[in-house]
Symmetry: C2
Subunit: 586 residues, 2 copies
Amino acid sequence: MTFKTLSAYMPILRWGRTYDRQAFSGDLLAAVIVTIMLIPQSLAYAMLAGLPPEAGLYASIAPIILYAIFGTSRALAVGPVAVVSLMTAAAISTIADQGSMGYAIAALTLAGLSGVMLLTLGLFKLGFLANFLSHPVIAGFITASGILIAASQIKHVLGISASGDTLPELLGSIVENLGETNLVTLAIGLLATAFLFWVRKGFKPLLRRLGLGPRPADMVAKAGPVFAVVLTTLAVWGFRLDAQGVSIVGAVPQGLPPLTLPSFSPDLIGLLVLPAFLISIIGFVESISVAQTLAAKKRQRIDPDQELIGLGAANIGAAFTGGYPVTGGFARSVVNFDAGAETPAAGAFTAIGLGIAALALTPLIYFLPIATLSATIIVAVLSLVDFSILKRSWSYSKPDFIAVAATMLFTLGMGVETGVSAGVILSIGLHLYRTSRPHIAEVGLVPGTQHFRNIHRHKVLTDPGLLTIRIDESLYFANARFLEDYVYDRLAAEGSIHDVILMCSAINEIDLSALESLEAINHRLGEMGVTLHLSELKGPVMDGLKKSTFLEALTGQVFLSQYDAWVRLVSQSSDVWPRPVAVPSG
Amino acid sequence: MTFKTLSAYMPILRWGRTYDRQAFSGDLLAAVIVTIMLIPQSLAYAMLAGLPPEAGLYASIAPIILYAIFGTSRALAVGPVAVVSLMTAAAISTIADQGSMGYAIAALTLAGLSGVMLLTLGLFKLGFLANFLSHPVIAGFITASGILIAASQIKHVLGISASGDTLPELLGSIVENLGETNLVTLAIGLLATAFLFWVRKGFKPLLRRLGLGPRPADMVAKAGPVFAVVLTTLAVWGFRLDAQGVSIVGAVPQGLPPLTLPSFSPDLIGLLVLPAFLISIIGFVESISVAQTLAAKKRQRIDPDQELIGLGAANIGAAFTGGYPVTGGFARSVVNFDAGAETPAAGAFTAIGLGIAALALTPLIYFLPIATLSATIIVAVLSLVDFSILKRSWSYSKPDFIAVAATMLFTLGMGVETGVSAGVILSIGLHLYRTSRPHIAEVGLVPGTQHFRNIHRHKVLTDPGLLTIRIDESLYFANARFLEDYVYDRLAAEGSIHDVILMCSAINEIDLSALESLEAINHRLGEMGVTLHLSELKGPVMDGLKKSTFLEALTGQVFLSQYDAWVRLVSQSSDVWPRPVAVPSG
């Protein structure tokens, strides 16, 4: 393997060679800010995934370093994210009990499987698969997941126990146990939530009024959640609120990420294959859209297949260092970018910061209330909730609306896996349905041009002996019979037609089923004394037809352009030419 | 409900009113011939389905009458057919033991479920669903099923026991038990098979040489299988070959079809839903293609949605009269048609003939050897086996070939349900894959015309400041990102371009994901100082875009034709026009 091919798979070899002092200082500052932001977030997302808090820190260390080596985005920050954490919990909670050894091993295995899948997709350049998740389906899924996640955290704010993978289950369970609400916990939870919402909007202006410059104010505001963590922890410690029933994080092991092994049990792998695939695709889509948004701002390019390799390596890293599935997060990547990260080295520095936190700071969070972590999650995910996609899709495209609405309803009502699967299946199904009943237009000549348009939309010239139909779809098995029926019905209605032209400008493919239909149409029209012609066949389609016997059997001709066909066929029927009949637009 | 709407759902009310003596005599003759042909066939197919022989007769009586009332084909003969019988056996054999009461009830339930599904599809006009089964996939499936069916009958010809749902299982099981071969059975089986093959080719010429007219010779030849039945039954009876270990049909109850009830157990229905759906679709496709072929010969029309209702009624009838899933059969329908059937009344007369057989003739088949029935099946299904689809699809379209080959391999290696599902999923998947990476052509003006073609295939005029790309596919979620990448890459490579035209003649739809991509392209090109135009947008697509804000944000214009765009934009860049640069075809 030459250096060139090696560096194709390890972008670090490219940017690493020109790394300088300026890039270093930008990366270092970004790393400090992201580290401060990530500490509470990592703990909270681990809890969302049903894992002990340290798993969130571990999942942020090795994966960040591996992504820095293999990823192409200069600003992406990889680690636990809300939606993937929820999907992890949904996948594992049916297999093992939360808190058990089996649960943690299943999380490692899920990360490992997901890593292998991402790596495989990347090496075989199958990143296009993610395109089958349409933008509206993603938007609907993220919004519904945000609601589901927020709902799952209500119990911690109330200090009660509740469970469920769907919104009705969660709400039902909360209502049932509402009587057990711990008022001290509730007070902490509500204050933390209110504070965090305020931090988002009001903290920066306050800091500015206090005399901070715009950039420092921005940086300090980003650390807002840390204040919530520090203040509530101090409150619990000072007033011994844990004795009042406030749940706290408790003892967290001190030390660097442990070396762990995922399970290789075929049974467990069998159960996790589908969730791992969904997590991989969702994680990839989330990550690549963040990466592309940020790269576009600096005119950099993201290679989707190499991104798959980077994310695959990160997840395999998570599987061997006590983590769980990770991906590129939106909020942290934006913070990283805004704070001036120049290269993926910023990620490596963040990993060092988190490593120090895991080594030294865990005793300090013993009294951190769970309700504060939940408040962090609620505030973070509610920013993902955005119903505008419903309105946009309703006004632009009903099939897209159906796919979005179904994705949301299924995600809320039947859980994340069913939700995203339903969205994908429905959008593919609706697309196939539409292409199975293509728009077919009868066209005529726009006077004074060589251009042909729909006789019902434009004032065009037509000829009573000549029927020209433009099929607005590739011909394939799903619509092959539709065309046959259309042509037969159309000819049955009009007796004067002696030539039919299929204008093929919108036909991008003719598969074997459609070829058989064309052969049947040609044969049947022949029996009726009607000649079949084709016009504006595209190169690749023509190449295909040449491999069959259709062109020899064709009763008419293939014309380069529809205008050629018109000139030839209309002038042949001498009683009509040169006075074609004008049809008014309808 | 008026008579008109009633007759729309009961075609019998239309043809019944003009029924006359001539139609009656045609129908009667056809019925006699089809009845003679159906007796051995019905017994044999019931055996293939794992049911007692009388189930085959019962499945031919009520269903034929119900189809005569509700169906639209004048010649279709409904009853048990080979492929559906095999699918029935495959569906039920995992649920109940052959010969048990549970097995028979499962068969009734399968017919009932299939009937309800067909009826529902018909009432909701969902017949187009069958189009997703492409011609090549059907051809591959029928061929593989034929092989599987023939293989399943070898044991009866050998007089051994063997089992299996796949070719390897069947052949392995046969080889294992080969030592138990009963030589007398084998002799009967081979002779019957040889005789039946000979009947297909040599019997009619012989009858003609013996002085029969062409039509009577044809009719008598059709009854060939009955001779095999009579001769082998007499041989077994005369020489008491059953005492030598030759398996015989044995006692068959005498009487009209019994009234039966399918099961309404949700568990059983749950197990049978998928097989019932596959049987419904396969049966419908087989039936409708026979019906359309025969209708085309007499210029009659088949209404696919009404056919679904007819087949649905037939299957519900089968469920309540001791039958199992039925559909329109190819061989019997052709015989019916050739024998001169004029109306569906021929089917009703056939039902009467079979009713008489069930009442009176069953004692006569006590000594009928099973090996003869197997020979009937083998000879019938081997005529379905046709590998030419492999060659045709290989030379015309590789994706079709892949779908066919996979359908065959999965059907033979993993059974009928997996086979047909694999074929459908693969053909849809390959179609989506192709549309996700559309052909994109850069086009120029064909000199002396207003027509634009690919610069790499035609000698065309282009302008260095103007890039025109024709996207040969509808824009939807699966290829939205592909277009973005293409445009950015293309512009990165060439600095002189100031106008980009997307020629939209092949774009039949722009969904919300693609709209977002177009907005992104427009925005990004705007930042680069490049103007984006569209040309030849189709009416329905334009209607869609008008519902969005895209057209207001568009930096350039929408041109009716590509030529309009060319004239306007090339004349603007005054240093080029009127001398566009000729690019040689490459």
